[in-house]
Protein backbone atom coordinates (compact mmCIF):
# COMPACT_ATOMS: atom_id res chain seq x y z
CA UNK A 1 0.00 0.00 0.00
CA UNK A 2 1.26 3.41 -0.91
CA UNK A 3 -0.11 6.82 0.01
CA UNK A 4 0.08 9.62 -2.51
CA UNK A 5 0.54 12.96 -0.81
CA UNK A 6 0.09 16.55 -2.02
CA UNK A 7 3.45 18.09 -2.86
CA UNK A 8 2.08 21.54 -2.10
CA UNK A 9 -1.01 23.39 -0.96
CA UNK A 10 -3.63 23.90 -3.62
CA UNK A 11 -6.94 22.70 -4.90
CA UNK A 12 -7.77 19.52 -6.76
CA UNK A 13 -8.25 20.56 -10.38
CA UNK A 14 -8.83 17.17 -11.98
CA UNK A 15 -9.07 13.54 -10.95
CA UNK A 16 -7.25 11.62 -13.69
CA UNK A 17 -7.48 8.06 -12.31
CA UNK A 18 -10.66 7.00 -10.56
CA UNK A 19 -11.05 4.45 -7.77
CA UNK A 20 -10.55 0.92 -9.06
CA UNK A 21 -8.40 2.01 -11.99
CA UNK A 22 -4.98 0.48 -12.34
CA UNK A 23 -2.05 2.86 -12.64
CA UNK A 24 1.64 2.47 -13.34
CA UNK A 25 4.41 4.27 -11.52
CA UNK A 26 4.73 7.83 -12.81
CA UNK A 27 1.20 7.94 -14.15
CA UNK A 28 -0.80 10.99 -13.01
CA UNK A 29 -3.54 10.30 -10.49
CA UNK A 30 -4.76 13.82 -9.81
CA UNK A 31 -3.84 17.29 -11.00
CA UNK A 32 -3.61 19.99 -8.36
CA UNK A 33 -3.92 23.65 -9.07
CA UNK A 34 -1.81 26.05 -7.07
CA UNK A 35 -0.97 29.67 -7.81
CA UNK A 36 -2.58 29.40 -11.23
CA UNK A 37 -0.42 26.43 -12.19
CA UNK A 38 -1.43 22.82 -12.73
CA UNK A 39 0.71 20.34 -10.83
CA UNK A 40 0.29 16.68 -11.77
CA UNK A 41 0.56 14.25 -8.85
CA UNK A 42 1.78 10.86 -10.10
CA UNK A 43 1.57 7.38 -8.61
CA UNK A 44 4.87 6.26 -7.07
CA UNK A 45 4.32 2.58 -7.78
CA UNK A 46 2.26 0.29 -9.99
CA UNK A 47 -1.09 -0.72 -8.56
CA UNK A 48 -4.78 0.04 -8.30
CA UNK A 49 -6.35 3.21 -6.96
CA UNK A 50 -7.88 1.77 -3.80
CA UNK A 51 -9.21 5.01 -2.39
CA UNK A 52 -9.38 8.65 -3.43
CA UNK A 53 -9.31 10.92 -0.40
CA UNK A 54 -10.22 14.03 -2.35
CA UNK A 55 -12.74 15.25 -4.91
CA UNK A 56 -12.42 17.82 -7.67
CA UNK A 57 -12.47 21.32 -6.17
CA UNK A 58 -11.28 20.19 -2.72
CA UNK A 59 -8.53 22.18 -1.05
CA UNK A 60 -5.49 20.25 0.16
CA UNK A 61 -2.54 21.24 2.29
CA UNK A 62 1.03 20.13 1.67
CA UNK A 63 1.41 16.55 2.89
CA UNK A 64 -2.30 15.71 2.81
CA UNK A 65 -3.03 12.20 1.55
CA UNK A 66 -4.70 12.36 -1.84
CA UNK A 67 -5.08 8.71 -2.74
CA UNK A 68 -4.11 5.21 -1.69
CA UNK A 69 -2.58 2.88 -4.25
CA UNK A 70 -2.60 -0.87 -3.61
Amino acid sequence: MNEIKASMAGSVWKIVANEGESVTSGQDVVILESMKMEIPIPAEQDGTVKELKVGEGDFVNEGDVIAIIE
Binding site: S7, A9, S11, S34, I39
Partner: protein, 451 residues
Protein backbone atom coordinates in the same frame (compact mmCIF):
# COMPACT_ATOMS: atom_id res chain seq x y z
CA UNK B 1 -10.57 64.43 -11.13
CA UNK B 2 -12.37 61.54 -9.42
CA UNK B 3 -12.71 61.91 -5.67
CA UNK B 4 -12.92 58.17 -4.93
CA UNK B 5 -11.67 55.13 -6.83
CA UNK B 6 -12.30 51.44 -6.18
CA UNK B 7 -9.53 49.04 -7.13
CA UNK B 8 -10.87 45.69 -8.34
CA UNK B 9 -7.58 43.91 -7.83
CA UNK B 10 -5.08 42.82 -5.19
CA UNK B 11 -1.39 42.55 -4.43
CA UNK B 12 1.32 44.80 -5.76
CA UNK B 13 -0.84 46.40 -8.46
CA UNK B 14 -3.45 47.48 -5.92
CA UNK B 15 -0.68 49.09 -3.84
CA UNK B 16 0.74 50.68 -6.98
CA UNK B 17 -2.61 52.26 -7.92
CA UNK B 18 -3.21 53.46 -4.34
CA UNK B 19 0.16 55.25 -4.40
CA UNK B 20 -0.77 57.32 -7.45
CA UNK B 21 -4.21 58.06 -6.00
CA UNK B 22 -2.65 59.38 -2.79
CA UNK B 23 -0.51 61.75 -4.84
CA UNK B 24 -3.56 62.93 -6.80
CA UNK B 25 -5.75 63.23 -3.65
CA UNK B 26 -8.13 60.52 -4.78
CA UNK B 27 -9.58 58.42 -1.98
CA UNK B 28 -9.22 54.68 -2.50
CA UNK B 29 -11.33 51.61 -1.78
CA UNK B 30 -9.63 48.22 -1.71
CA UNK B 31 -11.70 45.08 -2.14
CA UNK B 32 -10.23 41.90 -0.68
CA UNK B 33 -10.84 38.23 -0.09
CA UNK B 34 -10.64 36.41 3.25
CA UNK B 35 -7.17 35.21 2.26
CA UNK B 36 -5.94 38.79 1.83
CA UNK B 37 -7.16 40.30 5.11
CA UNK B 38 -3.60 40.96 6.27
CA UNK B 39 -2.25 42.03 2.87
CA UNK B 40 -0.49 45.42 2.69
CA UNK B 41 -2.80 46.85 0.02
CA UNK B 42 -5.85 46.39 2.27
CA UNK B 43 -4.28 48.61 4.92
CA UNK B 44 -2.89 51.14 2.47
CA UNK B 45 -6.30 51.97 0.99
CA UNK B 46 -8.48 54.59 2.69
CA UNK B 47 -11.29 52.06 2.94
CA UNK B 48 -11.43 48.33 2.44
CA UNK B 49 -14.30 46.03 1.68
CA UNK B 50 -14.46 42.25 2.08
CA UNK B 51 -15.91 40.66 -1.05
CA UNK B 52 -15.69 36.95 -0.40
CA UNK B 53 -13.80 33.75 0.10
CA UNK B 54 -10.18 33.12 -0.95
CA UNK B 55 -10.77 31.61 -4.36
CA UNK B 56 -10.96 34.18 -7.13
CA UNK B 57 -14.32 32.97 -8.42
CA UNK B 58 -15.74 33.57 -4.95
CA UNK B 59 -14.22 37.04 -4.52
CA UNK B 60 -12.12 38.94 -7.07
CA UNK B 61 -14.18 37.62 -9.98
CA UNK B 62 -17.53 38.24 -8.29
CA UNK B 63 -18.85 41.17 -10.27
CA UNK B 64 -21.94 41.66 -8.11
CA UNK B 65 -19.89 41.89 -4.94
CA UNK B 66 -17.49 44.41 -6.46
CA UNK B 67 -20.33 46.59 -7.76
CA UNK B 68 -21.98 46.43 -4.34
CA UNK B 69 -18.73 47.54 -2.71
CA UNK B 70 -18.46 50.45 -5.14
CA UNK B 71 -22.04 51.54 -4.49
CA UNK B 72 -21.81 51.28 -0.73
CA UNK B 73 -18.56 53.22 -0.57
CA UNK B 74 -19.70 55.81 -3.14
CA UNK B 75 -16.76 55.18 -5.44
CA UNK B 76 -17.06 56.98 -8.77
CA UNK B 77 -14.69 54.85 -10.80
CA UNK B 78 -13.20 51.35 -10.86
CA UNK B 79 -9.63 50.52 -11.85
CA UNK B 80 -9.35 46.83 -12.78
CA UNK B 81 -5.54 46.49 -12.62
CA UNK B 82 -4.27 43.53 -14.67
CA UNK B 83 -5.46 39.92 -14.75
CA UNK B 84 -8.70 39.06 -12.87
CA UNK B 85 -11.55 41.13 -14.38
CA UNK B 86 -9.35 43.59 -16.25
CA UNK B 87 -10.12 42.13 -19.67
CA UNK B 88 -13.64 40.95 -18.92
CA UNK B 89 -15.88 42.86 -21.35
CA UNK B 90 -18.98 42.05 -19.31
CA UNK B 91 -17.44 43.63 -16.23
CA UNK B 92 -16.53 46.86 -18.05
CA UNK B 93 -20.06 47.01 -19.46
CA UNK B 94 -21.69 46.41 -16.10
CA UNK B 95 -19.55 49.04 -14.36
CA UNK B 96 -20.69 51.62 -16.90
CA UNK B 97 -24.32 50.51 -16.77
CA UNK B 98 -24.20 51.11 -13.02
CA UNK B 99 -23.24 54.71 -13.71
CA UNK B 100 -19.59 54.27 -12.70
CA UNK B 101 -16.46 54.98 -14.74
CA UNK B 102 -14.42 51.98 -15.87
CA UNK B 103 -10.75 52.88 -16.17
CA UNK B 104 -10.07 51.26 -19.52
CA UNK B 105 -11.32 51.02 -23.10
CA UNK B 106 -14.86 50.22 -24.25
CA UNK B 107 -16.29 46.77 -23.54
CA UNK B 108 -16.64 46.23 -27.31
CA UNK B 109 -12.90 46.66 -27.81
CA UNK B 110 -12.07 44.50 -24.80
CA UNK B 111 -14.27 41.75 -26.28
CA UNK B 112 -12.73 42.10 -29.73
CA UNK B 113 -9.14 41.94 -28.49
CA UNK B 114 -10.02 39.10 -26.12
CA UNK B 115 -11.01 36.96 -29.10
CA UNK B 116 -7.63 36.31 -30.68
CA UNK B 117 -9.19 35.56 -34.06
CA UNK B 118 -11.27 38.76 -34.10
CA UNK B 119 -8.18 40.68 -33.00
CA UNK B 120 -6.12 39.24 -35.87
CA UNK B 121 -8.83 40.23 -38.32
CA UNK B 122 -9.09 43.76 -36.90
CA UNK B 123 -5.33 44.29 -36.98
CA UNK B 124 -5.03 43.03 -40.53
CA UNK B 125 -7.77 45.46 -41.57
CA UNK B 126 -5.88 48.26 -39.83
CA UNK B 127 -2.79 47.44 -41.88
CA UNK B 128 -0.79 45.93 -39.02
CA UNK B 129 1.24 42.84 -40.00
CA UNK B 130 -0.10 39.68 -38.31
CA UNK B 131 1.56 36.27 -37.94
CA UNK B 132 0.68 34.21 -41.04
CA UNK B 133 -2.07 31.75 -40.18
CA UNK B 134 -5.79 31.08 -40.23
CA UNK B 135 -8.07 34.09 -40.03
CA UNK B 136 -10.96 31.89 -38.90
CA UNK B 137 -11.27 29.11 -36.31
CA UNK B 138 -10.41 25.61 -37.52
CA UNK B 139 -13.31 23.17 -37.16
CA UNK B 140 -11.40 20.02 -36.18
CA UNK B 141 -8.03 18.32 -36.16
CA UNK B 142 -8.30 17.35 -39.85
CA UNK B 143 -8.79 20.94 -40.93
CA UNK B 144 -6.06 22.04 -38.50
CA UNK B 145 -3.67 19.62 -40.15
CA UNK B 146 -4.68 20.78 -43.62
CA UNK B 147 -3.85 24.42 -42.88
CA UNK B 148 -0.72 23.46 -40.98
CA UNK B 149 0.50 21.61 -44.10
CA UNK B 150 -0.35 24.70 -46.13
CA UNK B 151 1.68 27.09 -43.97
CA UNK B 152 4.27 24.44 -43.27
CA UNK B 153 5.23 22.95 -39.89
CA UNK B 154 6.19 23.99 -37.24
CA UNK B 155 2.99 25.83 -36.33
CA UNK B 156 1.45 27.22 -33.17
CA UNK B 157 -1.87 25.77 -32.13
CA UNK B 158 -3.75 28.45 -30.20
CA UNK B 159 -7.04 28.94 -28.40
CA UNK B 160 -9.01 31.96 -29.65
CA UNK B 161 -9.87 32.87 -26.07
CA UNK B 162 -6.43 31.92 -24.73
CA UNK B 163 -4.09 33.78 -22.43
CA UNK B 164 -1.14 33.09 -20.18
CA UNK B 165 0.00 30.27 -22.45
CA UNK B 166 -3.08 28.15 -21.72
CA UNK B 167 -4.52 26.31 -24.72
CA UNK B 168 -1.40 27.03 -26.73
CA UNK B 169 1.23 24.63 -28.03
CA UNK B 170 3.96 24.55 -30.66
CA UNK B 171 3.69 21.48 -32.88
CA UNK B 172 6.33 20.25 -35.29
CA UNK B 173 4.51 17.44 -37.09
CA UNK B 174 1.05 16.19 -38.00
CA UNK B 175 1.37 13.52 -35.28
CA UNK B 176 2.14 16.15 -32.65
CA UNK B 177 -0.80 18.21 -33.84
CA UNK B 178 -3.06 15.18 -33.63
CA UNK B 179 -1.98 14.62 -30.03
CA UNK B 180 -2.16 18.28 -29.02
CA UNK B 181 -5.38 19.42 -30.63
CA UNK B 182 -8.02 17.81 -28.47
CA UNK B 183 -6.26 18.42 -25.16
CA UNK B 184 -5.73 22.10 -25.83
CA UNK B 185 -9.24 22.52 -27.11
CA UNK B 186 -10.61 20.90 -23.96
CA UNK B 187 -8.40 22.98 -21.75
CA UNK B 188 -9.47 26.19 -23.50
CA UNK B 189 -13.10 25.14 -23.05
CA UNK B 190 -12.50 24.49 -19.35
CA UNK B 191 -10.54 27.67 -18.65
CA UNK B 192 -12.21 30.17 -20.93
CA UNK B 193 -15.54 28.55 -21.82
CA UNK B 194 -14.55 28.74 -25.48
CA UNK B 195 -12.81 25.93 -27.33
CA UNK B 196 -12.27 27.73 -30.64
CA UNK B 197 -8.77 26.96 -31.99
CA UNK B 198 -6.67 28.54 -34.72
CA UNK B 199 -3.28 27.96 -36.33
CA UNK B 200 -0.36 30.34 -36.74
CA UNK B 201 2.92 29.75 -38.50
CA UNK B 202 5.58 29.46 -35.83
CA UNK B 203 8.00 32.38 -35.98
CA UNK B 204 11.36 30.79 -35.28
CA UNK B 205 13.33 32.10 -32.35
CA UNK B 206 11.35 35.32 -32.01
CA UNK B 207 11.74 38.18 -29.64
CA UNK B 208 8.71 39.41 -27.76
CA UNK B 209 8.53 43.18 -28.14
CA UNK B 210 5.47 45.23 -27.29
CA UNK B 211 4.42 48.83 -27.82
CA UNK B 212 2.69 50.80 -25.05
CA UNK B 213 -0.01 53.16 -26.29
CA UNK B 214 -2.11 55.85 -24.63
CA UNK B 215 -5.18 57.35 -26.27
CA UNK B 216 -7.62 59.91 -24.89
CA UNK B 217 -11.33 60.20 -25.70
CA UNK B 218 -10.72 63.19 -28.00
CA UNK B 219 -8.85 61.39 -30.76
CA UNK B 220 -5.30 62.00 -29.50
CA UNK B 221 -2.91 59.08 -29.17
CA UNK B 222 0.77 58.51 -28.50
CA UNK B 223 2.97 55.46 -28.17
CA UNK B 224 5.46 55.20 -25.32
CA UNK B 225 8.00 53.14 -27.24
CA UNK B 226 8.65 49.46 -26.71
CA UNK B 227 9.32 46.96 -23.97
CA UNK B 228 11.26 43.83 -24.71
CA UNK B 229 9.93 40.84 -22.78
CA UNK B 230 11.79 37.94 -24.34
CA UNK B 231 12.86 36.28 -21.08
CA UNK B 232 9.88 34.05 -20.32
CA UNK B 233 9.19 30.77 -18.59
CA UNK B 234 5.97 28.84 -19.23
CA UNK B 235 4.99 31.61 -21.67
CA UNK B 236 5.02 34.11 -18.83
CA UNK B 237 7.39 37.04 -18.65
CA UNK B 238 10.17 37.10 -16.09
CA UNK B 239 12.38 40.01 -17.12
CA UNK B 240 11.31 43.02 -19.16
CA UNK B 241 13.24 46.02 -20.33
CA UNK B 242 12.92 49.28 -22.21
CA UNK B 243 14.19 50.12 -24.70
CA UNK B 244 14.84 46.84 -26.52
CA UNK B 245 18.55 46.11 -26.99
CA UNK B 246 17.74 44.63 -30.41
CA UNK B 247 15.59 47.06 -32.39
CA UNK B 248 17.07 49.49 -34.86
CA UNK B 249 15.80 53.07 -34.72
CA UNK B 250 14.01 52.44 -38.03
CA UNK B 251 12.14 49.34 -36.78
CA UNK B 252 11.28 51.10 -33.52
CA UNK B 253 9.73 53.92 -35.52
CA UNK B 254 7.81 51.53 -37.81
CA UNK B 255 6.47 49.48 -34.89
CA UNK B 256 5.34 52.63 -33.08
CA UNK B 257 3.61 53.91 -36.21
CA UNK B 258 1.96 50.54 -36.73
CA UNK B 259 0.63 50.51 -33.17
CA UNK B 260 -0.71 54.06 -33.52
CA UNK B 261 -2.40 53.17 -36.80
CA UNK B 262 -4.21 50.32 -35.03
CA UNK B 263 -5.24 52.58 -32.14
CA UNK B 264 -6.65 55.19 -34.49
CA UNK B 265 -8.41 52.69 -36.72
CA UNK B 266 -9.99 50.91 -33.75
CA UNK B 267 -10.74 54.21 -31.93
CA UNK B 268 -9.06 52.65 -28.94
CA UNK B 269 -9.02 54.66 -25.69
CA UNK B 270 -7.02 54.58 -22.44
CA UNK B 271 -3.80 52.56 -21.99
CA UNK B 272 -3.13 49.49 -24.08
CA UNK B 273 -0.28 47.33 -25.28
CA UNK B 274 0.22 45.84 -28.69
CA UNK B 275 2.41 42.77 -28.49
CA UNK B 276 4.55 41.74 -31.45
CA UNK B 277 6.80 38.85 -32.29
CA UNK B 278 9.97 40.09 -33.98
CA UNK B 279 12.16 37.74 -36.01
CA UNK B 280 15.93 38.01 -36.45
CA UNK B 281 15.44 40.09 -39.61
CA UNK B 282 13.43 42.62 -37.57
CA UNK B 283 10.16 41.67 -39.26
CA UNK B 284 7.40 42.21 -36.73
CA UNK B 285 4.03 40.48 -36.46
CA UNK B 286 1.01 41.33 -34.31
CA UNK B 287 0.56 38.78 -31.53
CA UNK B 288 -2.17 40.23 -29.34
CA UNK B 289 -3.39 43.41 -27.75
CA UNK B 290 -3.76 43.79 -24.01
CA UNK B 291 -6.51 46.25 -23.18
CA UNK B 292 -5.26 47.13 -19.71
CA UNK B 293 -2.26 48.20 -17.69
CA UNK B 294 0.56 45.63 -17.97
CA UNK B 295 2.56 44.06 -15.16
CA UNK B 296 5.72 45.49 -16.75
CA UNK B 297 4.44 49.08 -17.13
CA UNK B 298 7.06 50.44 -14.69
CA UNK B 299 9.91 50.13 -17.21
CA UNK B 300 7.99 52.44 -19.55
CA UNK B 301 7.37 54.85 -16.68
CA UNK B 302 11.08 54.88 -15.89
CA UNK B 303 12.18 55.75 -19.44
CA UNK B 304 9.41 58.30 -20.15
CA UNK B 305 8.91 59.91 -16.75
CA UNK B 306 5.15 59.40 -17.05
CA UNK B 307 2.95 57.78 -14.38
CA UNK B 308 0.79 55.40 -16.42
CA UNK B 309 -1.83 54.97 -13.69
CA UNK B 310 -2.21 58.76 -13.54
CA UNK B 311 -2.52 58.88 -17.32
CA UNK B 312 -5.20 56.17 -17.24
CA UNK B 313 -7.19 58.05 -14.60
CA UNK B 314 -6.91 61.36 -16.45
CA UNK B 315 -8.04 59.77 -19.70
CA UNK B 316 -10.94 57.98 -17.98
CA UNK B 317 -11.98 61.31 -16.44
CA UNK B 318 -12.18 62.76 -19.94
CA UNK B 319 -9.02 64.85 -19.93
CA UNK B 320 -6.93 65.37 -23.05
CA UNK B 321 -3.35 64.18 -23.44
CA UNK B 322 -1.13 67.19 -22.73
CA UNK B 323 1.79 66.06 -24.91
CA UNK B 324 2.39 64.93 -28.46
CA UNK B 325 4.47 62.12 -29.88
CA UNK B 326 7.37 64.46 -30.67
CA UNK B 327 7.51 65.55 -27.01
CA UNK B 328 8.36 62.01 -25.92
CA UNK B 329 11.94 60.78 -25.68
CA UNK B 330 13.54 57.61 -24.33
CA UNK B 331 15.50 58.52 -21.20
CA UNK B 332 18.07 55.90 -20.19
CA UNK B 333 17.37 52.22 -19.75
CA UNK B 334 15.05 50.36 -17.36
CA UNK B 335 14.77 46.69 -16.46
CA UNK B 336 12.15 44.88 -14.37
CA UNK B 337 12.61 41.49 -12.74
CA UNK B 338 9.50 39.69 -11.52
CA UNK B 339 9.97 38.03 -8.16
CA UNK B 340 7.99 34.80 -8.07
CA UNK B 341 7.28 32.47 -5.15
CA UNK B 342 8.55 29.46 -7.05
CA UNK B 343 11.42 27.04 -7.41
CA UNK B 344 14.31 28.48 -9.45
CA UNK B 345 14.87 25.24 -11.36
CA UNK B 346 11.46 23.65 -11.85
CA UNK B 347 9.36 26.86 -11.74
CA UNK B 348 6.89 25.02 -9.51
CA UNK B 349 5.03 27.39 -7.19
CA UNK B 350 5.97 27.63 -3.53
CA UNK B 351 3.23 29.01 -1.31
CA UNK B 352 3.99 29.35 2.39
CA UNK B 353 4.95 31.60 5.28
CA UNK B 354 7.52 34.34 4.65
CA UNK B 355 10.01 34.73 7.45
CA UNK B 356 12.25 37.39 5.99
CA UNK B 357 12.07 40.02 3.27
CA UNK B 358 14.90 42.46 2.63
CA UNK B 359 14.50 44.94 -0.19
CA UNK B 360 17.71 46.49 -1.53
CA UNK B 361 17.84 50.29 -1.53
CA UNK B 362 19.58 52.53 -3.99
CA UNK B 363 19.32 55.30 -6.50
CA UNK B 364 17.24 54.16 -9.46
CA UNK B 365 16.03 51.04 -7.61
CA UNK B 366 12.26 50.76 -7.38
CA UNK B 367 10.08 48.15 -5.70
CA UNK B 368 6.51 47.08 -6.27
CA UNK B 369 5.71 44.61 -3.52
CA UNK B 370 2.63 42.59 -2.63
CA UNK B 371 3.88 41.20 0.69
CA UNK B 372 5.72 42.10 3.87
CA UNK B 373 8.26 40.20 5.95
CA UNK B 374 5.67 38.07 7.74
CA UNK B 375 3.10 37.60 4.99
CA UNK B 376 1.51 34.27 4.24
CA UNK B 377 1.84 33.56 0.51
CA UNK B 378 -1.36 31.67 -0.27
CA UNK B 379 -1.91 29.15 -3.07
CA UNK B 380 -4.96 31.00 -4.37
CA UNK B 381 -3.34 33.61 -6.57
CA UNK B 382 -0.54 34.26 -9.02
CA UNK B 383 2.94 33.46 -7.64
CA UNK B 384 4.30 36.94 -8.38
CA UNK B 385 5.00 38.58 -5.02
CA UNK B 386 7.10 41.56 -6.07
CA UNK B 387 8.80 43.41 -8.89
CA UNK B 388 12.25 44.92 -8.81
CA UNK B 389 12.76 47.77 -11.27
CA UNK B 390 16.03 49.57 -12.00
CA UNK B 391 16.74 52.63 -14.10
CA UNK B 392 20.15 53.88 -15.29
CA UNK B 393 21.69 55.87 -18.12
CA UNK B 394 22.74 52.84 -20.13
CA UNK B 395 21.73 49.20 -20.44
CA UNK B 396 25.09 48.10 -19.07
CA UNK B 397 24.68 50.20 -15.94
CA UNK B 398 21.09 49.04 -15.54
CA UNK B 399 22.21 45.40 -15.63
CA UNK B 400 24.93 46.12 -13.06
CA UNK B 401 22.42 47.84 -10.81
CA UNK B 402 19.95 44.99 -11.18
CA UNK B 403 22.59 42.34 -10.47
CA UNK B 404 23.72 44.15 -7.34
CA UNK B 405 20.13 44.62 -6.15
CA UNK B 406 19.28 40.95 -6.76
CA UNK B 407 22.26 39.91 -4.65
CA UNK B 408 21.07 42.11 -1.79
CA UNK B 409 17.47 40.95 -2.09
CA UNK B 410 16.49 38.44 0.61
CA UNK B 411 13.44 36.21 0.78
CA UNK B 412 13.18 33.47 3.36
CA UNK B 413 10.50 30.97 4.36
CA UNK B 414 9.41 30.18 0.82
CA UNK B 415 11.27 29.38 -2.36
CA UNK B 416 11.76 32.23 -4.78
CA UNK B 417 13.16 32.68 -8.27
CA UNK B 418 15.96 34.99 -7.04
CA UNK B 419 18.57 32.33 -7.86
CA UNK B 420 17.23 32.05 -11.38
CA UNK B 421 17.13 35.82 -11.87
CA UNK B 422 20.75 36.18 -10.73
CA UNK B 423 21.83 33.55 -13.22
CA UNK B 424 19.85 35.09 -16.07
CA UNK B 425 21.05 38.68 -15.66
CA UNK B 426 24.69 37.61 -15.67
CA UNK B 427 24.34 35.20 -18.60
CA UNK B 428 26.26 36.33 -21.67
CA UNK B 429 23.20 35.82 -23.93
CA UNK B 430 21.26 38.29 -21.80
CA UNK B 431 23.99 40.84 -21.17
CA UNK B 432 24.86 40.96 -24.87
CA UNK B 433 21.20 41.55 -25.75
CA UNK B 434 21.03 38.36 -27.82
CA UNK B 435 18.34 36.54 -25.81
CA UNK B 436 15.13 35.49 -27.53
CA UNK B 437 11.98 33.83 -26.19
CA UNK B 438 13.71 30.45 -26.23
CA UNK B 439 16.44 31.66 -23.86
CA UNK B 440 15.17 29.66 -20.87
CA UNK B 441 14.91 26.43 -22.90
CA UNK B 442 18.08 26.92 -24.91
CA UNK B 443 20.42 28.38 -22.30
CA UNK B 444 19.01 28.55 -18.80
CA UNK B 445 17.72 25.01 -18.32
CA UNK B 446 20.79 23.39 -19.97
CA UNK B 447 23.04 25.47 -17.70
CA UNK B 448 21.42 23.81 -14.67
CA UNK B 449 22.22 20.27 -15.75
CA UNK B 450 25.78 21.24 -16.67
CA UNK B 451 26.53 22.25 -13.12
Amino acid sequence: MFSKLLIANRGEIASRIIRTCQRLNIRTVAVYSEADQEAPFVKEADESYLIGKPRVNESYLKIDNIIKAAKETNAEAIHPGYGLLSEHAGFAKRVREEGLTFVGPTSELIAMMGDKIAARQAMEMAGVPVVPGTMEAVADVQEANKVAEEFGYPVMLKAAAGGGGIGMQAVKTAEELEKAFEGNQKRAQTFFGDGKMFIEKQIINPRHIEIQVLADEHGNAVHLFERECSIQRRHQKVIEEAPSPFLSEETRRRMGESALKAVQKLRYTNAGTIEFLVDDQENFYFLEMNTRLQVEHPVTEEITGLDLVEQQLRIAFGEKLTYKQEDLLIQGHAIEARIYAEDSNTFYPSPGQLTKLTLPKGDGVRHEVAVNADSQVTPFYDPMIAKLVVHADTRKEAIEKLTKALHQYEIEGIKSNLTMLKRVVTHEQFTSGAATTSFIEDYYLPSLTNQ
